[in-house]
Amino acid sequence: MGKRKISALAGLNLQVNKGEFIAIMGPSGSGKTTLLNVLGCLDKPTSGKAILDNVDVTKLPEKKLCEIRRNKIGFIFQTFNLLPYLNAVENVELPMESTKKSNSERKKRARELLEMVGLSGREEHRPQRLSAGEQQRVAIARALANDPAIVLADEPTGNLDTKNKFEIVRLLGKLNIDQGTTIIMVTHDGQIATHAERILLLNDGKITKERQGILLTKKKLMCPYCGDKIQPSDERCPSCKKRL
């Protein structure tokens, strides 16, 4: 930045397997957003590679990167970044505009996604008429519009209240379990990060620690709190009644 070179990422090595839910934690300035931008083909590293499906995306031209962003990656932002002049359905339809889907197919898919995230009946509302939690749900639906293999979430709960935070992260967890979508979530909130499968700690551009989150246990169909058996569709543990 300016005349002084600052390394946002330094010697970082990260492997993400298909279907994983990764949470990346770290203090401000640790390189979390930069990592996400590189993973999302929004930025190129000064050195090194970023390999997606056996393809080094750092060597691809902008046109190819744009196709990857459209078809393989979904973005969720902290400030939602919905277009204020479009309603919920139109915002969700946006990534599908350059695909071969017809108008009616796009609308149908958009409505299905909004229903999936719990926003039936709010399709015609513009972002100004939705709460923060609802806007983030629309953003999630938008990120899933083209059925991406990976969803990158940059502080998806950063602008939400406590109740909505957990609802959103649970929704992401549900998506990961039900649809097998790979999710990489950046957060500074430890409680939110716990809901992932793997939690990586990023410091000064490097991954310094790794631990498991409760989602791994849920995937093994065990309650992460009491260890009893659970079903994939359970919202609460039948034994300890804690919210899953």
């Binding site: 931008n37 962003r69 459209r70 973005f75 932002f77 970044n81 204020p84 946006l94």
Partner: protein
């Protein structure tokens, strides 16, 4: 949801800004199209001038045996507001600026004795219903104030040999019939007269206390009243000369004596004219032949002046159009640059969700084009209403009236459909700057092209925005 709908919604997000931009662009577009409209009007006017000249000369050539005698000792002091020295009359209004003096009809017998005179038509023309009028020039809205009559009583001798052989009656009878030998207490009105009196063929009309029957209507209505270069009968109503002398209180008097030579030999006509002048020095004697020469000289001079003015006008017009084009492009450029900067984060989001550089560029170019197209429509609206004023303000003026060699009697003209134009009032025909359909289509096409040109750079800038940086923009 397509790019067009998004573009329209984006423009309408900032309604006041969009409105101000469209109005500003609209004015530059209005100037861009009013100027060519003014040029076309100038060219049409010059064509009218030539057409009017040809028509008038053609009419005058039928009357080369005519020698016109009027009383030259008319007062000019009562001219009020008219733009012509000696008062004179305003074509189409039958107006008057000076005071008409009448002659005793006994001169008819005296002149009949001159060798070579074949026939004579004594005529009386009396303007009535005098009011003050204002005339607006089609160029730049200049106004002239003058006294004009509402109608002119023209008394002609209803002699079959005169009627059959000479053009002493109006042509172009549009209803009823023309006057004929033996008619008395009947009248042929002009279309304007029928509106003024509120009567038609078969009705009775009261003229200065006497009732006349309307037997016919002549001529075409000219609402502007400004007709250049052709005989104008707009205000004239025709009756038997005896009736005219009685109702106007001019018994035994005439205002004009038309003398017809046996043939159109220049020598004979000139000789007769000279003899009349020497017999009656107070008379103003003009021959159609000399008038023809005067008009030809005037026409050539006017044409040269107008052609020079048109050439100068085109140079000025070209410069003004270039300035308008530049202004339009710059307005669009700056507005779109500001818009792109304002929506940097949105551009980053669009790219993050898979929009290509081309999609982004498309979006912003379309917005620029739509703004410009709306401005083009507004510009056409403004131009339709204000093209004459705008072109009048922006283009050098063409001279509307060139000289005036009205006879000093100040007589109004137009007695008889075949009579010649008022002497010397040759100028540009009244061609108003209007927007033709072709010009409007050109304006719309131009608006689209200029919108595309002005928004090209901002749209390219938007497409080159780096998404990672754009997302951090506040």
């Amino acid at each position: 949801m397509g790019v067009l709908t998004r573009a329209i919604r984006n423009i309408s997000r900032r309604k006041m800004r969009a409105l101000l931009v469209i109005i500003a662009l609209g004015f530059t577009m209005a100037i861009m199209i009013s100027v060519p409209a003014g040029i076309v009007a100038n060219q049409e006017a010059t064509q009218n001038l030539s057409a009017n000249y040809d028509r008038t000369v053609s009419q005058m050539e039928q009357q080369l045996t005519l020698i016109e005698c009027t009383n030259s000792s008319s007062s000019t002091s009562s001219s009020s507001g008219g733009p012509f020295p000696g008062g004179g009359s305003f074509p189409g209004f039958g107006g008057f600026g000076g005071q008409t003096n009448y002659m005793n009809e006994s001169i008819v017998d005296a002149i009949s004795s001159i060798s070579g005179v074949e026939a004579m038509a004594p005529i009386i023309e009396v303007p009535e219903g005098i009011t003050t009028r204002t005339f607006a020039s089609p160029y730049g809205g200049r106004t002239f104030t003058f006294n004009a009559s509402s109608y002119t009583i023209v008394g002609v001798p209803l002699n079959s040999s005169l009627i059959d052989n000479y053009s002493i009656l109006p042509t172009n009878i549009t209803a009823g019939r023309n006057l004929q030998q033996g008619d008395t207490e009947v009248v042929v009105l002009s279309l304007n007269n029928t509106e003024y009196f509120g009567v038609g063929v078969g009705d009775k009309v009261n003229i200065l206390g006497t009732n006349f029957e309307v037997v016919g209507v002549h001529g075409e209505s000219d609402s502007s009243g400004y007709v250049m270069g052709r005989a104008s009968d707009i205000g004239n109503l025709y009756m038997n000369i005896t009736n005219a002398q009685t109702v106007t209180g001019h018994k035994g008097e005439i205002s004009t004596l038309d003398v017809y030579a046996e043939n159109n030999s220049a020598t004979l006509v000139s000789t007769i004219a000279s003899e009349i002048s020497s017999m009656f020095p107070d008379l103003s004697v003009t021959t159609e032949q000399s008038q023809l020469q005067t008009i030809e000289n005037l026409y050539n001079s006017t044409l040269a002046t107008n052609e020079s003015a048109i050439s100068q006008t085109q140079t000025v017009a070209f410069q003004e159009i270039i300035i308008s084009v530049l202004a339009t492009c710059l307005i669009v450029l700056f507005v779109m640059l500001y818009t792109v900067r304002e929506r940097t984060k949105e551009i980053g989001t669009l790219k993050a969700i898979g929009f290509s550089n081309w999609n982004v560029m498309n979006q912003f170019m379309l917005e620029g084009i739509l703004l410009s197209l709306a401005a083009g429509i507004v510009g056409i609206g403004i131009g339709s209403m204000a093209a004459p004023t705008l072109s009048g303000l922006l283009l050098p003026h063409m001279s509307s009236f060139i000289g005036s060699t009205f006879g000093s009697s100040g007589r109004s003209f137009g007695a008889g459909g075949g009579r010649f134009v008022s002497h010397g009032a040759f100028g540009v025909g009244a061609a108003t700057a209007v927007l033709s359909p072709e010009l409007m289509l050109l304006a719309l096409g131009g608006a689209i092209a200029l919108g595309a040109l002005g928004s090209l750079y901002p749209a390219w800038r938007a497409s080159r925005t780096r998404p990672a940086e754009a997302m951090r923009y506040e």
